[in-house]
């Protein structure tokens, strides 16, 4: 049986999600028994000119050049996976959509600006059709494997729609609210095995909200914990700002 041809590509991102796979350890060898890695800039220099069975695309799309490359990948791929927060929801890069460009450039670069022209930030599904979505900043290796296995078996797969709290309770962590912190776990899509809270951090909502969050209820909870409405909104949209931009037709 020929192994499916798998490639990794990145757009605007930190490449940290690809690093999760590069660092997955011995499991990577098992993965390589199942798939043929044809392009993956972080671990190999070879290129592939044929069709991809599965393309994992990391990063958000914020200029026409990226959009065109993404469309080309879509055309050449049987299966396209939005890989990680930037690809799935725009990620933190999406924050720039709500800040004026001049303001943004002067804040970040002062008078040293000489970069590329960037446009509205979009998640990958806002530009092309996506077959699977893997959330997370970064993606969770166990969830990546779960998706990979589903793809290899040819069965459907959907990220969890349960809150982060579900797994956090499985892990019996002391609730961040009991530790005097505020946490977005109750309305954030789980599937990460409450990775951050297990390691003593709060949930920042990197996977975006569950499909039907009780946003008003969550805002009330955060208000009673002393957060200002502007801060609450900023926290809730830190990873999902791009989703307001609408789709590219």
């Amino acid at each position: 049986m020929t192994r499916p041809k798998v490639a990794f590509f990145d757009f605007s991102c930190c490449e940290g999600c690809q690093l999760q796979v590069a660092n997955i350890g011995e499991t990577l060898l098992d993965i390589l028994n199942l798939v043929e890695l044809v392009e993956f800039r972080e671990v190999m220099s070879e290129k592939w000119s044929g069709r991809y069975t599965v393309t994992f695309a990391e990063g958000s799309i914020n200029n026409e050049e990226s959009a065109q490359k993404l469309r080309m990948l879509r055309d050449r791929s049987d299966i396209l996976v939005a890989y990680g927060s930037c690809a799935a929801t725009g990620g933190v890069i999406g924050m720039q959509n709500r800040i004026s460009r001049d303001n943004l450039i002067s804040t970040v670069y002062g008078d040293q600006w000489g970069g590329e022209e960037t446009r509205t930030v979009r998640a990958i599904h806002q530009v092309v059709k996506v077959d699977y979505t893997l959330y997370g900043c970064p993606i969770n290796p166990a969830e990546f494997l779960s998706l990979l296995k589903a793809i290899l078996c040819g069965i459907s797969w959907r990220a969890s729609d349960n809150a982060v709290c579900v797994e956090c309770k499985f892990n019996e962590n002391v609730c961040m609210y009991d530790r005097g912190a505020t946490c977005l776990g109750p309305i954030t899509r789980g599937g990460c095995n409450s990775w951050c809270v297990n390691n003593g951090n709060v949930c920042y909502g990197c996977r975006g909200m569950v499909d039907n969050p009780n946003r008003a209820g969550a805002e009330d909870v955060l208000l009673t914990h002393g957060l200002k409405p502007e801060l609450i909104a900023a926290k809730m949209e830190m990873y999902t700002g791009a989703l307001e931009a609408g789709n590219v037709k």
Partner: protein, 280 residues
């Protein structure tokens, strides 16, 4: 403090291997699977019961049995491609193996129906479980009184078991009537919701038992029509659709009020259900 390996016996999670003996496409979205258990073992089910069908690595799905228990050497299920498991089942071929648990639940009230007139009302995929009862009645025809079957479906193309229905229509000991929601002009049958067929049925309300099986939204309207005809509440039976995950009355997914559909149902009398909030 040694770790011991304990073998679990007689667990309800044990699956039997079902051989897919024949696969018949019915419509664009539904296929009929004929399944044989090892060594020709009979499933030994009642009409209206269901099985958990599983593919290892994919999962399980509850599917109602659509063949009559009078067909003993194999049983049939009609699978609509909708979720993860059913999509995977649709990709299987004859000769492949699926996992089978069950049969589960309390099916249609066959004994109370005997000696009485029977009105069977099916909507859409609801004809699948009812087919187990219809064929049981046909195989034991002398035990039942007048039999009326009403079938409603979206359009003629989505009608399941159409060739079998053709045989039912030809029988003079069954009254079969069908209506579709939409149809092309050349459709010769009824167009309209299934409830529109009920007033026209000629029945003796106190001697008639009704069994209804269809999508949840259909029940309230059908029951209203049946009550107008004077059918007693205790003589109306409904099969409820819920997500039975374990089939063993434990996992909680199919719970309504204090009942577990997988064990206490899926078939209930309207007399019981009318007081249960959230049932219909």
């Amino acid at each position: 403090m040694a770790v011991e390996t304990v073998r679990i016996n007689n667990s309800g999670y044990r699956v039997k291997h079902g051989l897919l003996r024949r696969i018949t496409p019915l419509t664009e979205h539904e296929k009929l699977f004929e399944i044989m258990l090892p060594e020709g073992e009979s499933l030994d089910h009642d009409p209206g019961q269901f099985v958990q069908v599983s593919l290892f690595g994919v999962g399980e799905a509850p599917i109602s049995i659509c063949s009559s228990p009078t067909k003993r050497e194999a049983f049939e299920i009609c699978v609509r491609q909708s979720g993860r498991v059913t999509t995977a089942i649709h990709k299987l071929h004859e000769g492949d193996i699926v996992g089978i648990r069950g049969p589960f639940g309390i099916g249609f009230p066959v004994l109370p129906l005997e000696g009485n007139d029977v009105l069977l009302v099916a909507g859409g995929l609801g004809i699948a479980p009812l087919r187990s009862l219809i064929n049981y009645i046909i195989d034991n025809r002398r035990d039942f009184g007048k039999v009326d079957i009403l079938l409603g479906c979206r359009d003629p193309e989505s009608m399941l078991f159409s060739s079998e229905i053709g045989h039912w229509q030809k029988r003079i000991d069954l009254n079969f009537c069908c209506s579709v929601d939409h149809a092309a002009p050349e459709w010769a049958g009824n167009v309209g919701v299934i409830t529109s067929l009920i007033p026209g049925v000629n029945l003796h309300p106190l001697k008639t038992f009704v069994v209804v099986c269809g999508p949840p939204v259909m029940y309230r309207f059908v029951i209203e029509e049946l009550l107008k005809k004077g059918i007693p509440e205790r003589q109306i039976f409904l099969s409820l659709e819920r997500h039975m995950k374990c089939g063993l009355g434990k996992c909680g997914h199919c719970q309504i009020d204090n009942i577990y559909c997988c064990q206490d149902g899926p078939v209930f009398s309207y007399q019981k259900l009318k007081n249960i909030k959230g049932a219909i």
